[in-house]
Amino acid sequence: MTADATPSPVGRTGGPRVRGTAYPGYVAGKLGGAAVSLLAVLVTSFFLFRLIPGDPVKFMTGGRQVSAGQLASYRREFGLDLPLWEQFTDYCGKALTGDLGTSYQFRAPVMDKITEALPNTLLLTGTSFVLYTVIGVLLGTRAAWRNGGLGDRLHTGLALTLYSIPSFWLGLLLIIVFSVGIGPVPGLFPTGGMESGGEEGFAYVLDVAHHLVLPVVTLVAVEYGQTLLITRSALLDEMGGDYLTTARAKGLRDDLVRRRHAVPNALLPTMTLVFINLGRTVAGVILVETVFSWPGLGGLFYQALSVPDLPLVQGLFFVFATAVIVMNTLADLIYPLLDPRVGR
């Protein structure tokens, strides 16, 4: 797409290499790396969380009448009475068949707890992700193109300010202003939760959308700055390029020079960030989920850690890490398609 304007040192060889023999090897390497990472995560998640101080059985029975026999039966039930290596092989065997065990505190399969909360988290973080990426890239591009101008200073300043605001504080502020209402501002949105309950069909969709607005606004506000700044600086690096002068000399309009020539070349760092963010969407956002009482994975992870509910912690950690690994691998696989210089 940029071949006509980019004086590439390797000339025409970039494209064929991607489609030729090098790309499959590159792909195999990346996939192999991802598989090794996944295996490492599986092992790490088992041992890492056993370092958390605290006895799950005592925590769960704290403040209740429990006999020594009952405590022992808890340990038996959770498999905590077995030697560590036996617990480990048991865990690995089950994990490979997709069974992440049973949560100590909720007495439900970890997989069920995760699949219950995952869509909620993805709805929140996914919507925010799309919005802050689009806004960040658009504003970042504009800011770089008009580097030093009023718009640039305004956007960069605002983005930096919002980026440095703690999300829970901004969330609470939005709740007070737009949920409860202040002065002439009426209370437009619910104060928390994902739904009012009891709604069905289209009314349910609207109800969830209504609940979604404030948490999404909070996340977008604190997150878009990062994308904006990365896009801006990447584009600034490209702006001195001779190929842009060539493009202008050909008589192309400024808008076209930017959109067709400068931006695609500056996209790589932004893509990296996009995929990192995409990987993070699964892990949820504990603070925003807490402030808006959003029933997602972030809150579940916090609850799991405080026990520690080992199967749940392990399962969540595994899912979070897997998402990041998958997204990073995907990014690696897409880079050569975006920029033939990568992967050579």
Binding site: I52, P53, G54, D55, K58, R64, Q65, V66, S67, A68, Q70, S73, E77, T102, Q105, F106, R107, A108, K113, A117, L131, I135, L138, L139, R142, W145, G151, F168, L172, I175, S179, V180, P186, L188, F189, P190, T191, G192, G193, M194, G197, G198, E199, A203, L206, D207, A209, H210, V213, D254, D255, L256, E289, T290, V291, F292, S293, P295, G299, S306
Partner: protein, 612 residues
């Protein structure tokens, strides 16, 4: 080029803002008329809905598994227990059982089961359901998870007739009118395969016979119950009761201000102060059921006699323990740390349990007296060295490790005071604050610790955790003990109270136990924290507190609060006008934004050719 581009930037930003604004306004505009959030405690179809903000996640909706307060509170509403507690003074009153009587040998209890309680599917609730529930807990380990201790002393449970339940005991047990076990319908529960994994949260409505029927549940979103119109004590006055999740305390308070919820509990002093000025909100600063204490490590040991842990040797001296507590200014703890939302500590059981409340007589009371404390330490042989530090038997200056909960700001605040107060005595304090204190606690690797328990109307459990029988069998095991107290005299009193069926005599023995606990000085109660909660008076006209005169609303030992709550009539009528205003405002906003959008769209089309 410049002008065009400048225009382009502004145009894009404006379009973006307009799009975002329109999306937001549209969402708000469309959703507001549908928003069922009860500005009044009323739903769309005129039903009275009571919404309560909660934060704690439900661990399980199966009464055989649930341990958390939120879950057991829901069970109180769903199922009748054999007995209930009187809201006035906590004495046992009829529940599913109308009468209960022990045999002469104290080993057999006979309960008369009421004949006017029906399950919500129309079947009669009988003694057979109760017998089945207890037998299941006695024979199935999975079913004993939550309440196994209640049946541990049961020999045999039978139902000779639909209205007669007989429980035979291994040895006498005075707590038989305080069995906090939800009785479940046999015909529903006998179909359950694995009690250790059945959470009772998949099919609704759940069959029950309490004042409310569970109709829906979504983890960390809500628990919905509707009133049981055929409840034997009379139907609740609200048609629906919703526990709605607010994971953040400030967000819950915002919801209360707005009227989205009718009730919020667990307020901080700052939140309570802010809400007090509101006309439509009542703040309930109720005497709590918890005590907040300073526990001393008496030297950890197991039942087999093996000692472990590393508690400071000086703390085994009763004079030292007394001196330390003499230097704790409980008044300051209440005024400064709890900001007045607590009562100064005395005996082990909080004053709201009037039958068992005990406080030391004047001669016995350990009053705040730093000078006296210093004298007592001198007498005990722990004198100051040249640096003004008191030294232990090993000649080294004494520094106590105080175990504190990192998540509890009160622990940290009191810890700072201890550093000051005991510092003046020449004793160092090192605060060991942790998210999870159970490791050093169970290993006995601490000197003192902040401690606290919620007390039940029947105090048996909080008394039992200081008996020698509660110690772990071996150092490797975990016992039910709180802080390894083991005192023969206390144990003897404990056994006596458990076998005493005369309520007044039993209360007297319990008070003697509290006196003994006070004197030994291993468990020093500093305060009884209040339960601070608030509700909207324009949504709830009246609600029963427990104790009735001045008590709490959330987490009662019974269903009194939600069962008795009466909706306020005509409350929030101005909200209708307010909402109309909102809707007009939104419609106007949408029209303006649509106009702007159309304007930019037309402009964009007009210049499209030029741009390409």
């Amino acid at each position: 080029m410049d002008r065009h581009d400048q225009h382009g930037t502004e145009g894009t930003v404006l379009r973006l803002l307009a799009a975002a604004g329109a999306a937001l306004m549209l969402t708000a505009g469309l959703a507001t008329p549908l928003d069922p959030a009860p500005r009044r405690a009323e739903a769309k179809d005129g039903e009275q809905v009571l919404t309560v903000a909660v934060a704690q996640s439900v661990d399980s909706l199966s009464p055989f598994l649930a341990a958390r307060l939120v879950s057991t509170s829901v069970h109180r509403l769903m199922y009748e227990y054999l007995t209930n507690y009187d809201p006035k003074d906590n004495h046992a009153v009829p529940g599913l059982a109308t009468e209960w009587e022990p045999s002469a040998d104290k080993l057999t209890w006979t309960y008369t089961i009421r004949d006017d309680s029906k399950w919500s599917d129309g079947k009669q609730a009988t003694a057979e359901d109760a017998a089945w529930t207890f037998n299941k807990m006695m024979t199935d380990e999975g079913a004993a998870t939550a309440g196994g201790s209640f049946v541990a002393n049961f020999e045999k449970v039978t139902a000779p007739s639909p209205t007669e339940l007989v429980i035979e005991l291994k040895k006498p047990q005075a707590t038989m009118a305080a069995l906090d076990v939800p009785i479940v319908p046999r015909h529903v529960w006998e179909k359950v395969d694995d009690f250790s994994e059945f959470n009772n949260d998949k099919s609704f409505p759940v069959v029950g016979n309490g004042p409310f029927i569970l109709t829906d549940y979504k983890a960390d979103s809500y628990v919905r119950l509707k009133s049981n119109k055929s409840f034997w004590r009379g139907a609740p006055k609200f048609d629906e009761l919703v526990f709605k999740y607010y994971k953040d305390g400030d967000a819950a308070v915002a919801a209360l201000r707005k009227g989205e919820v009718s009730f919020v509990s667990g307020l901080t002093p700052a939140q309570a102060a802010a809400l007090k000025s509101r006309q439509d909100i009542a703040v309930n600063d109720a005497p709590g059921r918890r005590f907040y204490a300073l526990a001393v490590n008496p030297g950890a040991r197991a039942r087999n006699g093996k000692k472990f842990g590393d508690g400071h040797e000086s703390l085994l001296n009763q004079k030292v323990r007394r001196a330390l507590f003499m230097a704790v200014d409980r008044r300051t703890v209440v005024d400064k740390v709890f900001q007045g939302h607590a009562v100064e500590g005395e005996g082990y059981i909080p004053p709201r349990f009037s039958a068992y409340f005990w406080k030391p007589a004047d001669g016995q009371r350990i009053a705040y007296d730093p000078a006296g404390a210093a004298r007592l330490l001198d007498e005990a042989g722990y004198r100051k060295n040249g640096d003004g530090r008191r030294v232990g038997k090993n000649g080294r200056p004494i520094t106590y490790r105080v175990l504190c909960h990192a998540t509890d700001p009160q622990d940290k605040a009191v810890g700072k005071y201890l550093q000051e107060w005991w510092g003046e005595l020449g004793i160092g304090v090192s605060l060991d604050c942790r998210d999870n204190v159970s490791d050093p606690w169970l290993a006995g690797e601490y000197d003192l610790a902040f401690d606290g328990w919620s007390v039940n109307p029947d105090p048996d459990f909080v008394l039992s955790i200081h008996t020698c029988a509660a110690l772990p069998a071996t150092p490797k095991e975990i016992g039910a003990t709180d802080n390894f107290i083991c005192d023969e005299k206390y144990d003897e009193l404990y056994d006596r109270q458990l076998a005493e069926y005369d309520a007044a005599k039993r209360a007297d023995i319990v008070k003697q136990m509290e006196s003994r606990l006070y004197d030994t000085g291993y468990m020093n109660v500093m305060a009884y924290p209040n339960a601070v909660e608030a509700y909207r008076t324009d949504q709830i006209a009246s609600i029963t507190k427990m104790p009735e005169a001045a008590g709490n609303i959330y987490g009662q030992d019974g269903y009194w609060s939600w069962w008795s709550a009466a909706p306020a009539d005509g409350g929030g009528s101005s909200d209708g006008a307010g909402q109309t205003g909102v809707i007009i405002g939104i419609v106007a906003g949408v029209v303006v934004l649509a106009g702007l959008g159309a304007f930019f769209a037309v402009r964009r089309r007009a210049t499209a050719e030029d741009r390409e």
